[in-house]
């Protein structure tokens, strides 16, 4: 009944051209082993949905450096010089989304909403191509849900049913992504037996998690 799987096996399930939500904020809370294995297997034409592309060559920056990414959907790509270069050279497509809207679009994708109205971005470049809807005298943008083929999330702890617990600012987008993808792969720091996580501490219920990637065992 465990959802444990070998790192290489689970990454082999990701085809070229897939869309991936990848957790993390400046790589804190990013699934670093999964990212490295995607790079090692030489995936191509990926769409990645991330808060940011970290620094050049670090975290998801590894995938940018390896030119594995065709399109980035993110709120901020200013910390990674590779992304900036590829963007200004027209080698990579970047869709910039306000961070709160990005979080909310993922949430909408995960909880079955067809969209939501946000004041963020009204009257700015972000408004382009989006319906502006007035509610009770105030203008809002209609933003649409976001989903991906795969969500790659990291967590502080998991049990073997896939229940996930997060730590501090490593939580960030991970719980939202775990709800919004067809296949959810989690990379916890620690896997504990079923029954060892208090129900109130669980943020992502195991029912939405498909696979768990363990750290290499280092006991014995």
């Amino acid at each position: 009944m465990t959802k444990l799987i070998e790192l290489s096996d689970v990454v082999e399930k990701i085809p070229n051209g897939a869309s991936l939500m990848i957790g993390g904020f400046l790589a804190v809370g990013a699934p670093l082993r999964l990212i490295s294995e995607i790079e090692r297997q030489g995936k191509r034409d990926l769409t990645i949905i991330v808060n940011d592309t970290n620094r050049a060559g670090k975290g998801v920056g590894k995938l940018i450096a390896a030119k594995a990414v065709r399109k980035v959907i993110a709120s901020h790509v200013g910390t990674n010089s590779d992304t900036q270069k590829q963007l200004l050279a027209g080698e990579i497509e970047v869709e910039l989304v306000p961070q709160g809207t990005l979080a909310e679009r993922m949430r909408a994708g995960g909880v079955g909403l067809g969209g939501f109205l946000t004041p963020t971005g009204v009257g700015t470049l972000v408004e382009e191509g989006k319906p502006v809807i007035e509610v009770d005298g105030r203008s809002y943008l209609l933003e649409k849900p976001l989903r991906a083929d795969f969500a790659l999330v990291s967590a502080a702890q998991a049990d073997h049913r896939g229940n996930l617990v997060y730590a501090l600012t490593a939580r960030n987008f991970n719980p939202l992504m775990a709800m919004a993808a067809d296949t959810v792969i989690a990379e916890p720091h620690l896997i504990v037996p079923v029954g060892c996580l208090p129900p109130d501490s669980v943020v992502t219920p195991g029912a939405v998690v498909d696979y768990l990637v363990a750290r290499e065992p280092h006991h014995g």
């Binding site: 709120s75 200013g78 963007l87 910039l96 979080a103 009257g123 600012t169 939580r171």
Partner: protein, 216 residues
Amino acid sequence: MDEKMIIASRVARELKSGMLVNLGIGLPTLVAQLLPDDLAVDFQSENGLIGLEPLPFEGLADDDLIDAGGRLVSASAGAAAFDSAMSFGLIRGGHMDVTVLGGLEVDENGHLANWMVPGKMVPGMGGAMDLVAGAKRVIVAMTHTAKGAPKVVPTCTLPITSSRRIDLVVTEMAVIEPTDEGLVLRETAPGVSVADVLAATSARLVVPETVGVMPI
């Protein structure tokens, strides 16, 4: 005091005990260091924490706890952690009393531009658009000019961050308040005259009879 410290110490005076405050990356971060000890302000970090504190000692860092600029930080007693949807729910939902943000330009409409320079620098807006749209009070902390060019301008030449009018601009030369009547010059820095401010500003400034001196 260098110009950044002048700005940050003036901004610090806008904060009151019990407020929930978000400080943008860069200059605004300095504000936290300049608060009086008896002021109990809750700092939010948009990557998912209320109760942001500087590290007491280097050795006490944890890889899982950073601020929105990527620096290792600490959490105060009574801190709360949450995901990004909750974090921006607090911001957009009107729970944030004050946000202090850097700026590239502010114009006569009180519009802020701070997220891109087309063709040159496209970092993205990060959380800035949500912060400006949602915080109860938006304070822009920026130098008055960039390489001699005024940053307080008639109309933003750069893409704006929000159509919401921001509440206050604090520079090393002046405190300016956007109002229905335009940009009102509220204070000048010690040793800076109204004429100095006008000369360094391309926007039209409304100069009231009394212009205070920035308490810093």
